[in-house]
Symmetry: D2
Amino acid sequence: MVSHIGLVGLGKMGNNMRERLRRGGIEVTGYDPRPEVSDVASLADLVAALPADRRVVWVMVPAGDPTRGVVQELGTLLGEGDVVVEGGNSHYPEDQARAAELAERGIGYVDVGVSGGVWGLENGYGLMCGGDAGHVRTLMPVFDALRPEGPREEGFVHAGEVGAGHFAKMVHNGIEYGLMQAYAEGYELLEAKDIVTDVHGTMKAWMRGTVVRSWLLDLMVKALEEDPALAAIDDWVDDSGEGRWTVDEAIDNAVPLPVISAALFARFASRQDESPAMKAVAALRQQFGGHAVKPAQ
Amino acid sequence: MVSHIGLVGLGKMGNNMRERLRRGGIEVTGYDPRPEVSDVASLADLVAALPADRRVVWVMVPAGDPTRGVVQELGTLLGEGDVVVEGGNSHYPEDQARAAELAERGIGYVDVGVSGGVWGLENGYGLMCGGDAGHVRTLMPVFDALRPEGPREEGFVHAGEVGAGHFAKMVHNGIEYGLMQAYAEGYELLEAKDIVTDVHGTMKAWMRGTVVRSWLLDLMVKALEEDPALAAIDDWVDDSGEGRWTVDEAIDNAVPLPVISAALFARFASRQDESPAMKAVAALRQQFGGHAVKPAQ
Amino acid sequence: MVSHIGLVGLGKMGNNMRERLRRGGIEVTGYDPRPEVSDVASLADLVAALPADRRVVWVMVPAGDPTRGVVQELGTLLGEGDVVVEGGNSHYPEDQARAAELAERGIGYVDVGVSGGVWGLENGYGLMCGGDAGHVRTLMPVFDALRPEGPREEGFVHAGEVGAGHFAKMVHNGIEYGLMQAYAEGYELLEAKDIVTDVHGTMKAWMRGTVVRSWLLDLMVKALEEDPALAAIDDWVDDSGEGRWTVDEAIDNAVPLPVISAALFARFASRQDESPAMKAVAALRQQFGGHAVKPAQ
Amino acid sequence: MVSHIGLVGLGKMGNNMRERLRRGGIEVTGYDPRPEVSDVASLADLVAALPADRRVVWVMVPAGDPTRGVVQELGTLLGEGDVVVEGGNSHYPEDQARAAELAERGIGYVDVGVSGGVWGLENGYGLMCGGDAGHVRTLMPVFDALRPEGPREEGFVHAGEVGAGHFAKMVHNGIEYGLMQAYAEGYELLEAKDIVTDVHGTMKAWMRGTVVRSWLLDLMVKALEEDPALAAIDDWVDDSGEGRWTVDEAIDNAVPLPVISAALFARFASRQDESPAMKAVAALRQQFGGHAVKPAQ
């Protein structure tokens, strides 16, 4: 069983996870390019600091090139029987490709989707992992330190083979898009109706006993408590990529996804200064009906 | 058969229709509150000018109160055997209520959905009517003068009982919303892709031989000819109410309407200075993930 | 302050509420047409059993005609200073009309949206009410007995004037549609992917620490526990009417509601033996492309 | 200028195109594995039959592996100055990859999106092409023979660099999905309303003068003429892949596509024997409300 791991990437997430792992009795050697947070000077030093019989390195750096780079370098530093754990937001086909490459050198690969954000340090992190059952078993002390209190299976799952962890996390995030948009639409409708004089109070009253109670609702209430009309916040919403992958995946599998896709498109629209499509609709109305259009501003 | 009718409302639509009717050999007495366009001084004068055996008055004024007012007044001026034709954009339940009221005094009622916009004078108007078969038969010379050249059934229909004409026109307009949005989305996607260097030319090339050719496409090409980047036009799109009725009606009849409703909502969104819903989503993301938000501007 | 109320309607909801009110120290006289559950023989007897200084009758019968009938009869039985509480699922404009009528006779009216379903007896009911502040204040012991444990404002709100309670509940239900559909889409996508070998376990692992944790998620996990492939359940989903009202209301207020409307339309589609629209699309494809269609079965 | 081309693939489309090209005065040597339709015995024979100074081979075989195979073999048979024209439904990134490969051997590549289906032989084909301007110029006699009568630019476009032709065709098809779904939704709503007694006649009356007139509408009317209730046709709708690519592309470019994606998802849903998502929603309703569910059948 693993009791000492390497952790690469000590940003907002990685740093909190190091802390929670240590509180949970796991020894952690952390590496980050920024010396002020790093425990060692290099990836090589990190690998050297780990127990020689089975070195486990958890990677927690931004998806895409950064993750690719770190995993590639670990492929040259680790060997037979060691395990790379990808805890970032990799797209699952990348997991599959990397696992195959590392397997050629006898190195194991486990992908873990991690949910919980800035609240994870205190509440624990929801964990979904994919990979070999033997690897997962060995890593259980690590997972147990990170996951929330309570029954293990309510905060942790071995979802399937390599890639299944990030696939599950991707779907989790797709659902999240849909949930947030549903609350947001309801909020807007409450705001639009003058007979409702206490929108914040109404959503707060949904926190207990109702069908829509959830952690996201709690956060919505908290946001309204801090800023009752959301006056300080712009209606511009980023997307981290996992919503896009979810819809792409649905298309590949012919799964209808009307709600999650609508939530994704609402974010795209929120970031447009002007909508070419709606200019086109306005132009069409002007053409056929002589309908008034607004001149561009 | 009717060869002389009264026409109330000589705005953009009514004026053109009077002209087309006259070109088609129908005698028209027009009334409008604006003396410079009116043929008579009052509704009463209009009614007095019509052939006594069967007076037909076509109402072509804005939906809602204006139409209600004119029809009510006609109810007091007309009598047994006369016919009111509602050619505006009334909501079909209003037709049903008015027809019932007028029937008590022996006055007939025919509702007509009229399509064609500013192009109708030259091209003719698509006509969908509802009401008694006998009334419709008597009105055929009028309908024939208004409808486009070609086979009668390609520009005219007796769709069903009172209300069916405006119901059909409402659905026509709902479809129109969906069609316009489909072209507009395609336009935006073409514009977004740098390998496509001639968006206007691409849509123009769809005018003949393709599956998507249509009159709306022709108008889209015309709009791009006049303003290749739609630079002079704002992305603000009004809605005339019939799209709303279409979705309401679908809900009443449990008919799924994903495309037409999406087109309607896109118009609502186009008119918002800021979206309360998307502010809420941004607030939620900030709460759970510490994600960056844009401060309100 | 009220300590004894009448309760009309002792079905699944009403019966549980009577029980919870009594546990909470409120005296309840219940009336239902079915003598085996009723405390009194008639509405008149119920009114007679209440404290004469201020009689409060909570109505908990199906929306529409049944509620209309009971409220109308109560209007003749109650008088100055009494209060009718409508706890069913009335459409809020009806509340406004009824309140106005009762007010002419000096009778108060409070509308309450009640959430919690079959779980309410044990967990308490989320309550959203609309009406006069004085009435609401008098009713607080009743609301306190019904609502969940914890801070009052997390399970109860005085949302605004008459109608605001049912409006808030309507929006609550609209959100509920969106939330359920979001989870359901995610579930389907997990099921569609073979690398995920434990769908139930994956959703269970979301119960703690994740962004998507909620009561509905807990229920989803429970449903999968009872029937891992949902094999015993049909894909036919009813709608109770409040989702329809939510979308109607959004349309009236020009609020874009892409997610909630998509969830509503998915329910409509789920109930169709065959889709006329998709038959039409198939027919069109056959017409232009000679694409194969399936003959109707 | 080109006056003799090779044409590979003599299926439904290719065969008609050979015929139209010949009627237009272009010499065509066709190859197909089925000897009964082929002019030559092999691809090599086809290449040998073409004018040696500039050999042009138009590929018209199914997208994916078949097209890949033919283009690869042509890469070995053709040489400097020759041109491959890909007229099938390739995904545009494949065009870009193939063009780069062929360019290494001095072979040109033009991608052409072809619209018109089974009607193209008589009406001509809408053509959108991508590639080098010099190549396109040389091919103009071929394009002119294939395209519909009328101004060239209403049935043909050089949309941009390699890939732009198939990109434009992909967007064309995405729009087509949206248009078809819009008509289909309107059709269903008309069918659902009993006051409309002539649905076929109503849609037929839209053929002239209305805003929604189009070729697809003409086909809809034709379909209803042949089968007034679409009784012989199933509500099962296939998708050819280009709708999926359109939505994928929108996601990559952050373009909101609510209508086209809704049309795509409606097709996915139409092919499901049962919907796992709607089973999940039914299960949730049963869990929280004790709502009746239908047992699976």
